[in-house]
Amino acid sequence: MATTAIPHEPVARTEHQELPFIRKYIFATDHKIIGIQFLIMSLLFLFVGGLLAMMIRWQLGFPETPMPGGTVLPETMAPGGILLPEFYNSLVTMHGTLMVFFAIMPLLVGVFGNYLIPLKIGAPDMAFPRLNMWSFWIAVPAGILMLAGFFVEGGHAAAGWTAYAPLSAKGEFSGVFAGQQLWLLSLAVLGLSSILGATNYITTIVNLRAPGMTWFRLPLSIWSLFITAILVLLAIPILSGAAIMLFFDQTIGTHFFDPTAGGQPLLWQHLFWYFGHPEVYILILPAMGMVSDIIANGSRKPLFGYHSMIYALIAIAFLGWIVWGHHMFQSGMNPTLGMGFMVTTMLIAVPSAIKVFNWMGTMWRGNIRFHVPMLHAVSFVAMFVIGGLSGIFMASTPVDIYIHDTYFIVAHIHYVLFGGSLFALFGAITFWYPKMFGRMMNVFWGRVHWFLTFVFFNLTFFPMHNLGVGGHMRRLYDPSEYEFLQPLAGTNRFITVSALLLFTVQIIFALNFVISLFKGKRAPENPWDDNGLEWTVPSPPPHGNFVTTPTVYRPPYEFSSPLVEEDHLPQDRDLGQKTDPASAPGTG
């Protein structure tokens, strides 16, 4: 019997060869391969989404100046390199859509949900490997449908990623016909993929945990993915339903959102945000979980307040269902309801605060190693705080009157989603890269990329708060139309330059990612001295993951335990139960 301590290569690799290429890499059922497939797909979408953002920024920073390289775009988008307003609206819409649905969400849920869940709970694969394969291969056509929208007559969807009806419901209003329909269809298809994935994750986590892996021994990454999966499961069908209704309004003449025939535009907003607010938590909870793993590892300390971290996640997930109205304070919704939503929104800031302080508590009196994942994880905390605090401005209904639909919101979104989720993702990718590909990413370039990203991120997005405070509306093709926005033109140019640099330095990450695949240092089994079960198997782990089902003896964050010499104590190391107080379920 081989033990978990075998160096990689031998048996496992030969084993792999038995599967034909197409079963192994294309229609794969191995959760690790599917995770990597999602990784490739969503990084590509991240790139496309970023490219769209650059065009948006060019227009805002240098309106009326032809965009460098813009002449490659057809006349219907940017004649002479100058963006048309209708194309600008498509860009804004598609930037948001691609980033939310095809980049961040699949990166967090599709990639790390798939990759980490079985490995970290000690299972050989997902509960339904074939369903898992489907979940990826349904996401691919959804992505193709979404991209196809750029090439159809009338251009792509242009009603914002929130697709407010009736602008989105009738082609006459936006000039967009097939684009909007493809957009809706794509989201409905993607929804199916997400729901299948969530079903799989939940079943796997409930049923397939290794012996000893009790609920309160699960790493926070798994807890957060579990809760996220529940949110996906329950929120996505609302979007699917709404998208289908809107699709029917567009195609077969229903009138759900058409006020001239009894429909209600606000119904769309309620449905969208009833899905949408849980969705924004789908976009952050896994990041929080993985950051918790990385910060405990980097600090060489048990996670501070492990239990309250879990309860905070649960609280966020619950409260997340009753705050959706905060996106609609100025929509004409009953103002008394607005008051209720203000209260719940204020409350949801509390568990977020708990998490931030507990991360700081984890670092307190630690022995902090600044590996690249840790740099990103600490940046996550620093940036998420800003996003959370800006949320309080908007939660205050009177202040929201002024800042709603301004760049303040744009700043908020990006502090939580880029500063938050994407930094967490850079950290997570660097952290689990050795496990995925058997090689380390380059540390020097990792640090350079982190530093430049951190700097340019803040230079890009922090001033957006100030634009918002100056009253700068969002989704505005040409701010110079307004006199009161003239003084902000300099800020807009500054932001554009920073954004271009921010985009450019991502090349470092891309190169580091690709080159390390071939040239990176070979990864040992446990390069970060971590405790998780995934670090007890070879890098990359063989199909089936574990040679023998591991047994779990303790919570996931036993760093610097007095019981052992070294500063980490893997979850599966048997010390003899008597001597290990942390092994009792419920402690930690």
Binding site: Q264, P265, G305, Q330
Partner: protein, 224 residues
Amino acid sequence: MSWMLPPSASTFAGDIDFLYYLILVITGVAFVVVEVGLIWFIIKYRSRPGRKAYYTHGSVRAEFIWTAIPAVTVVAIGILSAPVWTHVKGRFSAPADALIYRVTAKQFEWNFTHPGLDGTLDTDDDFTIRNRLHVPVNRPVLVRLVSEDVIHSFFVPAFRVKQDVVPGLNTQVWFEATRTGEFELGCAELCGLGHYRMRAMVTVHDADDYERWLASRATTTALR
């Protein structure tokens, strides 16, 4: 790049601005505490050879404190916000003596129906102007918002008012200008291709000037 709100020109703008600055201070303090704390920890607890981290799983007391402080703070902000919200946007918040206007928004223009000399809407002397709104200073104004096509949003930054204009849903908003002058009005909700140029001007007259303007307006309309 400033954190200062632009000059305001309505009665309740002061209340909104006060809340904004209050939250700015509170979040500013929280921001400094957290970021300085993080930097301090990064420096102080950086890995050094031969050291082991302090082994602890948490502290109920500490966690209680940092749950309670944010909770109390946000609830306080909520309590302070509530009356302002009701004052500005509450169902029946518009003062009874408000002058009533109707704004009809459509892609991509604002049509302002003024109540005319008699100060009452839907009478014969009403008149409608495109992209220009004239109101008297120091007099509450209630704007009935109607959309002919998609959702727009009535936004006058200087008055700190913003209200979506939803087709099929008759929304309204009120304000009372405190300064005479010209103020820009914009559309704050993406409403299509020309959204960015859906701009209008609000002229605030002093009382006499407003009467004069109305009278001159009446003659020009009569001539036509």
